[in-house]
Subunit: 228 residues, 2 copies
DNA sequence: CCCAACTCTTGACAGTCGTCACGACCTATC
DNA sequence: GATAGGTCGTGACGACTGTCAAGAGTTGGG
């Protein structure tokens, strides 16, 4: 069984106005349709992300997504050709808002010590507020180990998250007047592993999972800089 | 919908001789049956682990497991009451043989430098030889974030793996005459994150994923010890 | 040698899944 | 205001799932 994966533009619906559409119609009307179409897709993605975060990738059916949204299950297949197309669109949609998570920490911290503290706080707060979202991300990344169709997205998001960590660490090094002891490509998986473990333990009801995460971050970050 | 989870002994089959059986039968025959029952369960687990490693937790059906084994799909339900019972039994079965993975590295390395080299080699070899097994483990751990029934097993296996890493690192510190700079509870998630990232990249066809893993391990381990 | 218990296979049931065709509704254009 | 096309809900199909009942096949004890 061979699977042919075709890349589709994010803005174009699956079957809606996907075909030839600018034949006679005015360009303005087409643009109006396109924007409305994207709007619908984003509405559905927003709703689907909640369900996906609750149930996980495998247990979430298209019907369940539709049921937890103001739309019907036929609506889903009108705007998305496939289940995987919906999923990847949802995760890309989530990615956009996730990247800016630590930007204020980077821009507002005046000293290295302050940056560490605020970074650790933000780590904890992220789990407290968006634990379902993050387990969904880990779910997708793990499924990418099995399904080749998910790998480009998983690797791309990983790269984006690594860039996010890079901005934090490089600003931290700059504030402290030192340089990074390990490349970001090493530091990111390390921090990610610590974060993932804390997420699992937090979801499992381990009481001090988040306080441990905070302490770990505070002791770990200084060790990522070169000894003076 | 409430789900009642009942813990079952590993040695007892689901419905086979699980009921009252030692009424008139000789105890020796009962023991013989028990051992044969466990043998059957292990045979099925061995076969199921291959399928699970190929398809992943969600995509693997009981029929698929049976089809890739010399047994029928009814056989599965004769020895295992539930799908989750089969899965957890399989993973426990795998856990037993995984723990001893780095024991020779610990016992045979004469110097700290040799231990680092052999540990890094073993990391790479593990991915090369048992990538499907490890993505299955990551799959199960991620599913535990959603399904509470899997959490005890996931946390238990994580603890076992952490103990394994602890034996390596403590021996490494001993050989080098230094002490660990970070507790093992921090070092394990770090190394696990690096390993997980390398596994994903290796499965995704990134060419230098394993050589990068090896280099990372060699530079990371010395940084886990206190400065002299 | 027979009978009973154990072992395992076959077949089927109820439910859910992704997918799609059909038709109703709405909107805008002539 | 008729009409064509975009938009979306309803219903159904086929495939697949976990689960279980019923009955063959096998084994061992009397």
């Amino acid at each position: 069984m061979t699977v042919v994966t075709t890349y589709r533009q994010d803005a174009l619906p699956a079957r809606g106005n996907a075909g030839r559409m600018g034949t006679v119609t005015a360009a303005s009307a087409t643009r109006g349709r396109e924007s409305k179409s994207r709007e619908r897709r984003d509405q559905l993605a927003e709703s689907a992300l909640v369900t996906l975060g609750q149930l996980g990738y495998a247990r979430t059916s298209l019907r369940e997504i539709a049921q937890n949204s103001p739309f019907s299950h036929g609506f889903v297949h009108y705007y998305f050709a496939d289940k995987t197309e919906l999923i990847t669109y949802c995760v890309r949609h989530y990615k956009r808002q996730c990247v800016t998570r630590y930007d204020t920490v980077v821009s507002e911290s005046a000293t290295a010590a302050e940056l560490v503290e605020r970074f650790a706080d933000e780590l904890v707060e992220t789990i407290e507020q968006e634990a379902p979202m993050h387990r969904l991300w880990y779910d997708l990344r793990t499924q990418a180990m099995f399904d080749p169709a998910l790998r480009p997205d998983a690797l791309a998001i990983d790269a984006t998250l690594q860039d996010m960590v890079a901005r934090v660490l490089e600003r931290y090094a700059e504030l402290d007047g030192r340089s990074l002891a390990v490349p970001v490509a090493v530091a990111y998986p390390m921090l990610d592993g610590v974060f993932e473990q804390a997420l699992l333990r937090h979801l499992s009801g381990v009481p001090d999972a988040l306080t441990t995460l905070r302490a770990t971050a505070c002791t770990l970050l200084p060790r990522l800089l070169r000894v003076r």
